[in-house]
Symmetry: C2
Subunit: 270 residues, 2 copies
DNA sequence: CGATTTCGTTGACAGCTGTCAATGATCCCT
DNA sequence: AGGGATCATTGACAGCTGTCAACGAAATCG
């Protein structure tokens, strides 16, 4: 029920709900820690929705009637300034939640950066469930704390003046998020290949610059030997450590664990 | 108990706790909505602490043993990069909370930007109380949501390339936070005076630049007629709207309500 | 009161980015 | 396959900031 995708004919509601529950909490979802009972309640109130690239899920300044969870694709959290400039303050990947509970309108709009599927929970019913399910309440709190940390890490990244440093940081972040999912990172003898899932324009709005500078930063990193540009959305990462060092934050624990994950995957695949 | 300040002789524990409770929730505190009963429990576990300017409350990467609430002064939330650069991701004012509940270490350190007093709640006992006091849990959730919004608004502010635009945004933000507190904003015939509560160095780290650029930005805004520099930490704001328009976000609701507050205060004082 | 240190300010110059303009590449639709 | 639209890239130039250096002001300490 949580997805508009075709299901085998004859699937009854129960199996439908089970599938929803599974999909809503796949991977590193914010809701993966809640009890089965709570998950069932969530699945029951879940309204599936498919968004085309560019479509708006929540309008800026509007009080949304639902809370959402990303099933597939990428959403962007953004603000349009009075002078027409746009700025993206965050990306939402599979398993991320969005929308606000209890209080009013969000100052940011949520739009699909790619074709996407989301799971929509009616806000009132979600809040009702929150009051009776401490595990969900706890999970939501942890989720928001994580978001807050990510936002602050992102600020530090944006404090880099050179655009190539910001781009390097973004690529490292992409690697960290994608490393554990097979289909998103392809190992190669001379590094590993990732997909840059958003357009140059979105990348520019995300990194606080323009597409021209994004282009220059990509090719500068290629000249330095850190990456190789395989296509507009395909990048071969040759040296993660080098990329990380360009952000000024050097070899962190996150980088170390990323390299460990990739090494173990490389070993597993021969 | 929550403050080291002198109390009238003979005050017993009860009045002490009452005072603590009062001080911890003064102004627009994050905890102002919790029940009296919960407030009493908080007051009972409160450990007062006084911090000198520059002193560290929570070290980067360290799991803190307590959750804190600012009583007076200003704390900065910051990160030191491997290359030595420092970046401030947020300021904590009176009534703001800091420290993490439930999960591990914070990647940011919390330091006193000015002399400050904080209220420290032992983390375990605070978490225990959270589980039994839904009102506190709710208040904390709302508080963190507010912090998340502030962080994202701050990101938008930092997307301004001109330092003078960022500084203008910061001054407007200061006005918004201080407007309702008499001692922090002094009305004058040609505008209103505010105190810039942190040094040029901190301002530079906060706005992602250097002290020289901060200085230039201040004097540029003065040349434009938006402000007048009365002293290193005293600024006369002549035209809030002009300042706001320089951030690219124009005349928002926040600006309108700020002007309304100042107008009513001006009327009240004659 | 004077010396020292810290802080804020100002100037000169190099480096990077924003802007404008033009070109090349790719995708989509017919 | 052709044509149009969108996207990515590259070049030239101006503007702003970072850096280095020097100066002035204010606070601190003896």
């Amino acid at each position: 029920m949580c997805s508009h995708e075709q299901r085998p004919q004859g699937a009854d509601m129960t199996s439908g709900v089970g599938q929803t529950s599974h999909r809503c909490h796949a991977g590193s979802s914010a809701l993966s820690d809640v009890k089965a009972e709570t998950r069932a309640a969530l699945a029951a109130m879940c309204r599936p929705r498919r968004l085309g690239a560019g479509q708006t899920a929540i309008h800026e300044g509007e009080t949304s009637d639902y809370v959402g969870c990303v099933l597939s694709g990428i959403l962007r959290l953004q603000k349009t300034l009075a002078d027409g400039r746009q700025h993206i303050v965050g990306l939402l990947f599979e398993g991320d939640m969005f929308g606000r509970v209890f209080d009013g309108a969000s100052d940011f709009s949520v739009e699909a950066a790619t074709d996407a599927e989301v799971c929509a929970f009616p806000r009132r019913r979600f809040e009702e469930l929150l009051s009776h399910a401490p595990d969900l309440d706890r999970a939501l709190l942890m989720n928001i704390l994580t978001e807050l940390d990510r936002a602050r890490d992102w600020m530090v990244l944006l404090s880099n003046r050179k655009i190539s440093s910001r781009l390097a940081g973004f690529l490292v972040l992409l690697c960290s998020r994608f490393a554990s999912v097979d289909r998103l990172v392809e190992l190669r003898p001379d590094g590993f290949e990732i997909r840059v899932p958003i357009s140059r324009t979105d990348l520019a709005h995300l990194l606080g610059t323009r597409t021209e500078s994004i282009s220059r930063a990509f090719h500068w990193l290629e000249d330095e030997g850190d990456i190789e540009i395989l296509g507009p959305d395909r990048v071969l990462v040759r040296d993660v450590s080098a990329l990380a060092s360009r952000t000024g934050d050097g070899e962190t624990d996150a980088i170390a664990s990323l390299k460990a994950v990739l090494a173990s995957r490389r070993q597993a695949s021969g």
